[in-house]
Amino acid sequence: MEFLLQPLTLLTFFPLVGVLVILFMNSEAKTAIRWVAMATTLITFGISLWVLTLFTASNPNLQLDAKYPWIQVAGWNIYYYLAVDGLSILLVLLTAFLTPISILSTWTAVEDRVKDFMIFFLLLEVGMMGVFLAQDLFLFYIFWEFTLVPMYFLIGLWGGPRRIYAAIKFFLYTMAGSILMLVAILFLGIQTNTFNIPEMLTVLPGLYSSGTITAATQMLLFIAFAAAFAIKVPMWPLHSWLPDAHVEAPTAGSVILAGVLLKMGTYGFLRFNIQLFPNATIAAAPWIALLATIGIIYGAAVSYAQSDVKKLVAYSSVSHLGFVMLGMFALNVQGVSGAILQMINHGLSTGALFLLIGMVYEQTHTREIKVYGGLWKIMPIFGTVMLISSLSSMGLPGLNGFVGEFTILLGAFGSKAIGSPWYAGISAIGVIMAAVYILYMFQKMFLGPAGEITKEHELKDLNWREILTVAPLLILMFWIGLYPAPFFNLIAPAVEQLLSALPL
């Protein structure tokens, strides 16, 4: 019992309770199934808030350990080990926060195989929580790979017309990255005789300084981990799976994909690459900054060229996550805390955009920008909400996006690790470009004369359920935009400790 009552164990595995209940429900009882899934994820969110109250912000170390020996035979040293620290607490909260919102968004959008949908969705939540909480590489790898399976089904079963192609591409692309990480994990496990990350961190410096693991090997290990995470982020030029997956995925899938799954990649860099391979991190920082900058500009430029609004938002993710990567590899306090905050911001604003696009798509069944027009007149609430989310996404001061991007650029300008202010300078152009493509999209869809679709359909404005779906996101956008201090306070001590371990 003690094992099950650990707050983090409960947080990770509580959705399984919902899975078990739904499994024994009649698949025709759709509304009941939705309520069970909703209740499960709300309770999970409640648990995550409980975890937040137990969390000590001033403590930079891992907290709330749930640690039990798991596989301790034949030279293996594997623990069931969950813990949380400043690097992961916000992502854990984001996951628990976005899941019920996504489920609420499916209330009328998913009518087919509701039972299967909810089961996969809850399983996905287990996987995501596990990724952010696992402190043992074996356990982490299991959760990391496991998230692929439910997401594969979500895209492949409830997606758009090219869903099978998109699902397989998503699965194989992501798996291609993680298999190299597997080899690197095994290599580390053999060299350090453990898979437990804190233990590994005490052994590794010795192995580096004694030359047991040479600088070149360290770089190879860094690259193997980076391959897995860079595909997930996705960093340019490994992003080509993302637009397909986003466009074909159902709305709730897109929200989780953009909101949480991509953050698994950036979080991976933070937790594993920077901590485990300090020297390689410093050597690679300018290169990562270069790729991030290219991604920022490229993502923004390609976004502008899209005629499908969901694709536009998908490519904007490539650009936004470029900022996250740039800030993270600035390797100073502003950069890294800005990057962590920006992960949350991107989850909120892009999540909101996908939700809103999904709501209008449900009525019109098209995402072509050019067939819309003059939506604001017909759907004023929708227009307002969309405007706020768009402004948040492009980084208007007073909203959350600005805080993150500003801190990141500040960090990147003065970064010793990147070594040149040019990356930040060029990336700043990306902020302007974001304004261009977002406002272009907004203008075409919401202003001007009514488009053909707008005339054809009797479009209804958002109903109460839909307002309730996006309202929490809007509140957080303003909160972070106007008063980000409590969020930074959660992150700062852990970030400072992370950076103090680097030989900069």
């Binding site: 699902a167 699965f171 095994l186």
Partner: protein, 480 residues
């Protein structure tokens, strides 16, 4: 024959005696009640299994060191006997439905299993040969069991011809080894080979043995027979053959190489490396283009032989050998469990005259039979090596052993081919879940039971693999 001789071979003796008696008893069982034969055969296996389990931990040699009882033989024998039981569970309804219900089926499998058990205990090349024949000949007959079906007859003949050819290699290799060392006992060969540099004759002999066993476990380039034989044989036979024959082949390979040829590792390691790499690459890539599920699984079984072969590559390294061979055994268990489950699903969908065996026939399965589709998904994920399944733990263990042995390149080939395999295993999942179709299945309680139990084992064991690790490691520990 002393008492030790007797106790060393006790379970095997019981099984052979049961098989002989059953052959006679079967004559008096009326044609429409062959279920009794099946029950008696399963009972014989269960009794043998009980005796084998009771012998865990005891060690002895018998018949002047020709057979050995140790942890390794107990481990593999248990695995073989469990495969036999699972094979019966799959076969019972299938044979009835296909009009193949004849008492010989069960008796032949019992004889084949006795051969496999003898193989796992053999510590002399003559016994290896004897066991090989004992296990193979019933399988040749079983492959052609659906006569006068042409495909089945072709499978039987093909398997027989190529199998006989492979046996020839083993006999010739044994002769050369005898010429080089003057003995056929494994420990004798070991001491002869360790004195001074091993002679060329011995190396050639060992290589010939490798070729022979390569045929048996279907390693590339000795795999040509596999797809045709797996496709042509009655599916229940294929299920048993692809598990049992592999276990026995690998058991012999493990024991012979680990106990007799460590001195030859300088020459043989590279060959094993190439064999493993080729088998993984060719097996997985050829599987992609298959549209028939039996052929696809045949190539997938070739690919998995490649993964298991990886465990042999570091066999000359004294520190790594125990964990690497234990990893091989562990993977063998995960393969066998997953394999039986998969064949169970295939049998459930198979119709008379070879219908229902195309991958396209799986379309729409998830909507009509969600539990069966879920089980199949578990098996496919396990074959890919995805959590939460036994296959994932198996691959983790195996790749770790290979990297620890100093062959990261081979591990990289292993993970990359796993990625390739994801493509064709997922195609089955895509068909089941994402395409429309109207499949019908045969419901049969033993079949359902086998599929359910293997699916549950595949998932549950992945959360608690410790004891299986421990068993595999202790089994191997006693080898040295």
């Amino acid at each position: 024959m002393t008492q030790t001789d007797f106790s060393t071979l006790l379970p095997l003796t019981i099984l052979v005696a049961c098989a002989c008696v059953l052959l006679l008893v079967d004559l008096f069982i009326p044609k429409n009640r062959k279920g009794i034969t099946a029950f008696l055969a399963a009972l014989s296996l269960a009794v043998t299994l009980g005796f084998t389990i009771s012998q865990i931990g005891s060690e002895s040699t018998g018949f002047n060191g020709m057979v050995t009882l140790d942890g390794f033989s107990a481990f593999t024998s248990i695995l073989i006997l469990v495969s036999g039981l699972l094979g019966f569970a799959l076969a019972y309804g299938y044979l009835k439905r296909m009009g193949l219900e004849r008492g010989e089926y069960y008796v032949l499998i019992l004889f084949s299993i006795s051969g496999m058990m003898l193989m796992s205990q053999a510590s002399d090349l003559i016994i290896v040969f004897l066991a090989l024949e004992l296990l193979s000949i019933p399988l040749y007959v079983l492959a052609a069991f659906a006569r006068p079906n042409l495909q089945s007859e072709e499978a039987g003949v093909k398997y027989f011809l190529l199998g006989a050819f492979a046996t020839g290699f083993i006999v010739y290799g044994t002769a050369l080894i005898f010429g080089a060392t003057g003995t056929t006992s494994l420990s004798g060969i070991f001491s002869a080979a360790s004195n001074g540099t091993p002679s060329l004759l011995l190396t050639i002999g060992a290589a010939l043995l490798l070729v022979g066993f390569g045929f048996k476990v279907a390693a590339v380039p000795f795999h040509m027979w596999t797809p045709d034989v797996y496709q042509g044989s009655p599916t229940a036979v294929t299920a048993f053959m692809s598990s049992g024959a592999k276990i026995a082949g690998f058991a012999a390979l493990l024991r012979v190489f680990a106990t007799a040829f460590p001195a030859l590792s300088a020459d043989l390691t590279d060959i094993l490396w190439a064999l493993a790499a080729l088998t993984m690459i060719v097996g997985n890539i050829t599987a992609i283009s298959q549209t028939n599920i039996k052929r696809m699984l045949a190539y997938s079984s070739i690919a998995h032989a490649g993964y298991i072969l990886m465990a042999f590559v570091p066999y000359g390294n004294k520190d790594v050998m125990p964990i690497s061979i234990a990893a091989g055994l562990f993977y063998l268990v995960s393969y066998v469990v997953t394999n039986f489950g998969t064949w169970g699903v295939v049998i459930a969908l198979e119709k008379a005259e070879g219908k229902g065996l195309e991958i396209a026939d799986y379309a729409g399965l998830a909507k009509k039979y969600p539990a069966l589709a879920a089980a199949m998904t578990v098996f496919m994920l396990s074959f890919i090596g995805f959590p939460p399944t036994l296959g994932m733990v198996g691959k983790f263990y195996l790749f770790r052993a290979v990297i620890a042995g100093g062959y990261p390149g081979l591990a990289i080939i292993g993970v990359v081919t796993s990625l390739v395999s994801a493509y064709y295993y997922l195609r089955v999942v895509v068909n089941m879940y994402m395409r429309e179709g109207d499949p019908t299945i045969e419901r049969e309680s033993w079949l359902d039971f086998t599929t359910a139990i293997t699916a549950i084992t595949t998932v549950a064991l992945s959360f608690a693999p410790q004891w299986l690790f421990l068993m595999a490691s202790t089994a191997v520990f006693r080898l040295f």
